[in-house]
């Protein structure tokens, strides 16, 4: 049943998500080409005097590049926000809107319905994030262009090793935090929607308010836990070398974030399931 639910969830979302991916890919290519143009052809044209004859000044070109860069950044932000918004709206519409009559009448456990939507949303968000990272890296490499020697990756890694003395554990923890964080974010949104739908009117508004309430509660709880953890590490600072204290605080933050996110995942799942099973309120 879970497999079938996932299949139909992908079928319902792939068109919009592929459009988002295509938009990110398009701005990456266009942005990259513009930077190539600026760093390559533009400079040659400037040297030959063609541009000044045509009325192009360096200032004008810089303004144009600033606009393109801003547009690039805005499109990346819009793609990231749009992805989350679309998937949240999809969950609301298919579970608690009119389409909920179709979804909620399926002979499937609510657990499977929640899981299928979480897995699907997570993979789309993961793909979008990955694409954005690749896009930014591409932009950085192109922007650096001919001065690529300043970005010696091996040297950067070596310097980071010197500074942080990175072992395997923090790297694994960082990846885990990244992966679990997006699941926690999805389930937080689902939980807010599942509580918001219980109000007779203004379901969307109430869902947003619940999300804001969750966000504030998590921020407060997270700050208190990290403050306590940092204090504990610093209290031990006298007996430990400074690098060890740094590593301890860094790993502590990662552990803390991971545990908080796992707790959010569990609570988000339980609240969503409660809303679907015990408090369904289809109009």
């Amino acid at each position: 049943m879970l497999g079938r639910l996932i299949k139909h969830e992908y079928k319902a979302t792939w068109k919009i998500m592929c459009a988002v991916y295509a938009a990110v890919a398009a701005v990456t290519i266009i942005g990259g080409l513009f930077y190539k143009f600026r760093l390559g052809v533009f400079e040659k044209l400037q040297e030959s005097g063609v541009l000044s004859e045509a009325g192009f000044s360096e200032g004008l070109m810089n303004s144009l590049m600033a606009m393109i860069t801003s547009a690039y950044v805005l499109i990346l932000i819009a793609a990231a926000v749009g992805t989350v918004w679309f998937l949240a709206y999809r969950f609301f519409k298919s579970c608690y809107g009119d389409e909920g009559y179709l979804t909620q009448m399926l002979p499937a456990q609510k657990h499977d319905i929640i899981l299928s939507k979480t897995i699907t949303a997570w993979t789309w968000i993961f793909g979008e994030t990955l694409l954005t990272v690749v896009s930014i890296l591409n932009f950085v490499f192109v922007a650096v262009g001919e001065n690529a020697d300043i970005l010696d990756v091996a040297e950067v890694v070596e310097e980071m090793n010197d500074i942080f003395d990175i072992g395997v554990l923090p790297i694994i923890l960082t990846i885990l935090v990244w992966l679990v964080d997006s699941v926690a974010e999805i389930l937080k949104v689902y939980a807010a929607i599942s509580l918001g739908q219980t109000s007779g009117k203004h379901k969307v508004l109430m869902s947003i308010l619940w999300y804001v309430a969750f966000y504030i509660m998590i921020q407060i709880a997270g700050s208190m836990i990290f403050a306590a953890g940092s204090m504990f590490s610093l209290m031990r600072a006298d007996t430990m070398p400074s690098e060890a204290v740094f590593r301890s605080v860094y790993n502590g933050i990662l552990f803390g974030t991971l545990i908080i996110n796992l707790v959010i995942c569990a609570l988000g799942y339980l609240v969503t399931r409660y809303g679907m099973e015990r408090n369904l309120n289809l109009e």
């Binding site: 299949k7 068109k15 389409e99 909920g100 909620q104 009448m105 499937a108």
Partner: protein, 237 residues
């Protein structure tokens, strides 16, 4: 005849604030009946049907489908037609047949496909491009193409023209099997009266009459439609 209780309500109650949408209702539906759930607006018909479908939780009392509370099993036994368009706007009739086939073991895809073509509906056209009446026909076809134990039809003919009503009524009779039951909520009593075997009058969330159609006609000397108008004439619902 199988006398197992397909649907059973025991002191079933649904309260919104101080208002009782369904008020301590006792009601049993056995297999082999086409029952008209009749009552004015706000009498609790849709609330009762939604509770039977498991889409609303009762405030009090119990509701059981073949002896069990609504859940995963009841979803596989019940075929429910809501009183609204619930199909995804971007779906097509063809993709919906595939969807139903994936999730419902009792779904007869060939029957659904035949009815879609009989009505001249383009199976590859998106729902958003179809008229409201055509969408309602698609919904009814999907609902009645299941070999379910209990069909819950909430206002199945309210939004369609008289010619389509005839088709829908024929579809209900043609696809329903004697081992199952149909519960139809409607205002258009005249249109469905001929196919009903049983009548339930509901007012203020309570069943005020549950009898066979022939019983109602015999006891009152009136058609169900005439009797309904008489009973609810001054109710103002």
């Amino acid at each position: 005849m199988n006398t197992e209780k397909l649907l059973e309500c025991v002191q079933l109650t649904k309260q919104y604030g101080i208002k009782h949408a369904v008020d301590h209702m006792d009601f049993v539906l056995e297999p082999g009946h086409i029952t008209g759930l009749l009552g004015p607006n706000g009498s609790g018909k849709t609330t009762l049907i939604k509770m039977a479908a498991g889409l609303l939780k009762p405030t009090g009392g119990e509701i059981r489908i073949l002896g069990e509370a609504p859940g995963v099993r009841s979803c596989s036994l019940i075929s429910y037609l809501p009183d609204r368009v619930y199909l995804p706007k971007t779906a097509t009739a063809a993709s919906l047949i595939e969807y139903y086939l994936d999730f419902y073991e009792d779904f007869d895809a060939a029957r659904a496909d035949r009815m879609i073509r009989d009505l001249g509906i383009d199976p590859d056209q998106q729902i958003r491009a179809l008229s409201k009446g055509t969408v309602e026909k698609v919904q009814l076809i999907l609902c009645m193409s299941r070999r379910a134990s209990l069909y819950l039809l909430d206002e199945p003919i309210a939004g369609v023209d008289p010619a389509a009503r005839d088709y829908i009524i024929r579809t209900i009779i043609g696809n329903y099997n004697p081992g199952s039951s149909v519960l139809i909520s409607t205002h258009l009593i005249q249109d469905v009266e001929n196919i009903l075997t049983d009548i339930v009058f509901i007012r203020n969330g309570q069943v005020i009459l549950h009898d066979t159609k022939e019983g109602v006609r015999e006891h009152t000397g009136k058609t169900v439609d005439q009797y309904f108008r008489e009973v609810f004439a001054c109710w103002g619902g």
